[in-house]
């Protein structure tokens, strides 16, 4: 498994291949469609992330020292954004997740192309993933 930095660099490379933002959105929609869906029974209030305009659920499982994230949203572009975050953060150790920087999101220009409410949702989502990491690092 690659480390977080390497995965982020891969994503930056992938996004640099697109000419315009419609193509990037097309790619995010494809990513969103391919995201393994969370089991309906986990779409609970506890797993709902506050601060997102569309509904986003995240579930974290801890296995062999690593955190596995699964997630879903009712909006497909949001799912695409989640898919990018999960690719970076899932299957990593709590320590690596806690230490990870997220400047790659600025590099791919994602934050600039989100509405302020969606950008806030993105920040909330990253915060939530890091909170899980903190919780599991104390085990």
């Amino acid at each position: 498994m690659s480390d977080i930095k390497e995965i982020q660099e891969e994503i930056v490379d992938e996004f640099s291949m697109f000419d315009d933002w419609m193509q990037r959105y097309e790619y995010m929609i494809e990513l969103g469609k391919s995201l393994p869906m969370i089991d309906e029974s986990y779409k609970t209030k506890d797993n709902l992330i506050k601060g997102c305009q569309s509904q986003v659920w995240v579930k974290a499982d801890y296995k062999d020292g690593k955190i596995i994230f699964t997630s879903d949203s009712d909006a497909i572009i949001t799912k695409g954004i989640i898919a990018i975050l999960i690719r970076v953060f899932s299957n990593q150790t709590p320590e690596a997740i806690m230490k990870a920087e997220t400047s790659f999101l600025d590099e791919i220009g994602l934050k600039d192309h989100l509405s302020p409410t969606r950008a806030n949702g993105l920040v909330s989502m990253i915060k939530q993933l890091k909170m899980y990491a903190i919780a599991y690092s104390n085990r």
Binding site: W21, M22, Y25, E26, I29, Q53, S54, Q55, D74, A75, I76, I77, T78, S115, R118
Partner: protein, 412 residues
């Protein structure tokens, strides 16, 4: 396509008055269909604001100096224009506010001191949150009971149930003239008459109606009517509350401060008369003046002409949307609403459609439109809302339709 339209407006000349319509968004010409949230501003209104700060800026109602008098005259002339527009009996029945929400809070706050736990008040299921929450706060303070007029699948009010909710304990009814999320024009004359028949008073939220329909508050016998300037070509942060003189006189002041007093003593302060009793502090002077100019602008075009042309746009857009297929339109038939089409593409989320349209330069509103009870009624998280104004065109609707088709093909 042959132009079969019957309107007499010179749309190109009108569009030339709105500098923002020349803007490009994400490299594409702006198609602005979020008029129900905020309308765009003609140069005449922008000039009024610039002129105020360039030539006339001073505090009003206080100074003896010339500038203060010029500013005061301009502000009071605007109040008179607004009075004439809504045909209020007196200029002092027009209270300047920060907008519709402020007007509703002003009335709800006053009634918080007048109602008690034996009283009942009635709201509708199709209100904007600003015409729900202030009244809930009022009910919490007074113990008054809040009742709700349900809505039908067609996005209209269930008036039979309204009849059964009214009784001699009903003190207030608050309802919108036009629904912001669906565009439904409610039968306010009937609702007002029924409200008055049990001796209750009514507040009409006119925010969505005022850009399209000129309400005559005397002919309709409206008790309170609230509007926002920014939905009718005026600036943001200003609006008015109309209230019948005797009702405003009976209502306690909303905020304390300068301008709203007659005499201040530490044992007892007496309040100023109308409208100043409700206008504490230095108001948005340039905003009030510019609101007057915005009304002049719209009246010069003519509200009937505006409504006819917007209806033409609505019918055209609705037909084109339906032709796309897999579209669910929420709300009533075109004849019973203003130029708003609230819809979803089956199998997609409104945010996704709105996000992709934005990339194509097309501005629409997505989500629950601050009317969650309506969304809960339809069991949906939100809709895409395209709202048209008299400066929009069929060519823009064509771009919007192409955009929806493209977004649909990307998402499904």
């Amino acid at each position: 396509m042959q132009d079969t339209s019957k309107h007499t407006l010179d749309i190109n000349a009108i569009r030339a008055d709105f500098p923002i319509l020349q803007r490009k968004i994400n490299g594409k010409p702006l198609v602005y269909f979020d008029n129900a949230a905020t309308s765009q501003t003609p140069q005449q209104v922008i000039d009024a604001i610039v002129n105020y700060y360039t030539n006339d800026n001073a505090n009003i109602h206080r100074g003896v100096h010339t500038l203060s008098q010029i500013a005061t005259d301009a502000y009071e002339q605007a109040r008179e224009k607004i009075r004439a527009h809504f045909n209020a009996q007196h200029a002092h029945e027009i209270i300047f506010t920060a907008g519709t929400t402020h007007g509703i809070n002003l009335v709800a706050s006053g009634y918080s001191q007048l109602l008690n736990d034996r009283d009942e008040v009635i709201v509708s299921a199709m209100e904007h949150h600003s015409n729900i929450v202030p009244w809930q706060m009022m009910c919490e303070k007074t113990g008054a009971q809040l009742k709700v007029i349900p809505m039908t699948e067609q996005g209209e009010l269930d008036l039979d149930t309204f009849d059964s909710l009214l009784n001699d304990r009903t003190k207030l009814v608050f309802i919108n003239h036009v629904s912001n999320a669906l565009g439904t024009v409610n039968p306010i004359q009937e609702i007002i008459d029924k409200t008055h028949a049990v001796g209750a008073k009514i507040l009409i939220d006119g925010a969505q109606a005022a850009p399209h329909i000129k309400a005559d508050v005397q002919a309709l016998d409206i008790d309170f009517y609230t509007v926002s300037a920014h939905k009718m070509c005026g600036p943001t942060g200003v609006g008015v509350l109309y209230g019948k003189e005797e009702l405003l006189e009976a209502l306690p002041p909303y905020q304390g401060g300068g301008e709203m007093i007659a005499e201040v003593n530490f044992d007892k302060t007496t309040y100023a008369g109308l409208p100043h009793k409700f206008e504490a502090g230095t108001p948005n002077i340039s905003g009030g003046i510019a609101f007057g100019v915005a009304l002049d602008y719209m009246n010069a075009i003519g509200f009937e002409e505006i409504a006819d042309y917007e209806m033409e746009l609505l019918i055209y857009a609705t037909g084109q949307l339906k032709d796309i297929g897999d579209i669910r339109i929420y709300g009533t038939s075109v004849e019973r609403k203003t130029a708003v089409v609230s819809f979803n593409v089956n199998g997609t989320h409104s945010y996704d459609i709105g996000t992709l349209l934005d990339k194509m330069g097309i501005a629409v509103r997505t989500g629950h439109h601050c009317a969650q009870p309506i969304m809960k009624f339809y069991k949906i998280p939100g809709t895409v809302r395209a709202s048209f104004s008299f400066y929009n065109t069929k060519e823009e609707i064509d771009l919007f339709i192409d955009g929806v088709k493209k977004a649909k093909s990307m998402l499904l």
